[in-house]
Symmetry: C2
Subunit: 214 residues, 2 copies
């Protein structure tokens, strides 16, 4: 497959549904973030201090849950635990949504911490599939400073190396390191505007940020 589109948990609900509907029939597999379910886990974790492995596994199950629910609302989409079945669905013109827990359980490749979120996990899966990664989120991309602040400007393109020193952004802390390690790029696009996502997928210009790890 050509693209993995990670649909941020912040889009979950109608935005995620509309975005995914526009992806049916394209060479795309979707992975969902954990959204408010994962945020609730963070609250539990602050209160109870679980091991990083327990929260890591639990957060991945939140991605499974939102994937199941999202697939349920979209005609032509189906949720799969298996990459093989996901590819088969794609070949048949359907939109596969990967429930990542089983794939990520076996090789279990990434650090267990809140620094690794569905962004980095999606990059790992995209890399495994030799697919490109697009992260759909609820802001237009990466900004020169917090988007809510005066003078914050959208960055069209940034190297993963530069991102490492960027502090908190709309993507997780490990993504930059992994992009460098995998020599990969990734696009950050506002998923509330499906036409931007489609533009990027079709190789056209769109408002977004390209993070370059090559």
């Amino acid at each position: 497959m050509e693209w993995v589109v990670k649909v941020g948990g912040s889009l979950f609900g109608e935005y995620a549904v509309k975005l995914c509907e526009s992806l049916v029939g394209r060479d795309v597999m979707v992975i969902c973030g954990g959204g408010n379910l994962a945020n609730l886990l963070r609250d539990y974790d602050r209160e109870m201090e679980f091991s990083s492995t327990a929260t890591h596994k639990s957060a991945i199950l939140c991605m499974d849950i939102l994937g199941i629910l999202l697939a349920d609302k979209i005609k032509g989409a189906e949720a799969f635990y298996s990459l093989k079945l996901a590819q088969k669905a794609l070949n048949n013109g359907n939109l596969p949504i990967l429930l990542p827990s089983q794939f990520l359980n076996q090789p279990d490749p990434l650090e267990h911490s809140w620094k690794v979120t569905s962004d980095s996990l999606s990059l790992y899966i995209a890399h495994h599939l030799k697919a490109k990664l697009l992260i759909a989120t609820d802001v237009d991309g990466i900004y020169t400073r917090e988007p809510s602040h005066d003078g914050a400007e959208l960055i069209k393109s940034i190297s993963a190396k530069k991102l490492l020193n960027f502090g908190e952004t709309s993507v997780d802390e490990i993504l930059g390191e992994l992009l460098l390690q995998f020599k990969s790029d990734c696009y950050i696009v506002n998923g509330k505007h499906p036409e931007r996502v489609i533009s990027v997928i079709e190789g056209r210009n769109a408002e977004c940020t390209l993070i370059g790890g090559i």
Copy 2:
């Protein structure tokens, strides 16, 4: 095993941990309710109206998540997807916490609706294991009327048949029907008082409600 103890999601946090700590070394397997994670699913469902199968499967994954987190906090407890491994852990003196998604995926025996919650699912599993069921919750048992109302009295014992006409109680709507179908009993006990749970398990008297389906 002799007992399945369902630990209500409302106990999740320190109450659930303390209760489970008191169960280590006893002939008990624990199953967790879905707690606030499942409540969040209900909110999503109200907003987006998923199919009953999607919410059913998702709610069971919430039980898995709280099971993983609970096991993480308890010395001598371990979480398992497999009943066989859970039994093995019990034989070794550990407290198994069942993550029910895989077991419930195969036979998939119960109606998919919010009427079936972790109460009925736990009864189904207990029945399969020929074990007794104790439901630990955050109230003392079943009351003559809403516990918060004046004059509400705890019921020591009630037939499952009578429970069917009882309206909303601290257990789910299908439990009574299943108890009749399986010719089983079940105890509703306040899990904030582990000593009551231990008393019931040891065959002694305790403040609780026995629901009789025999």
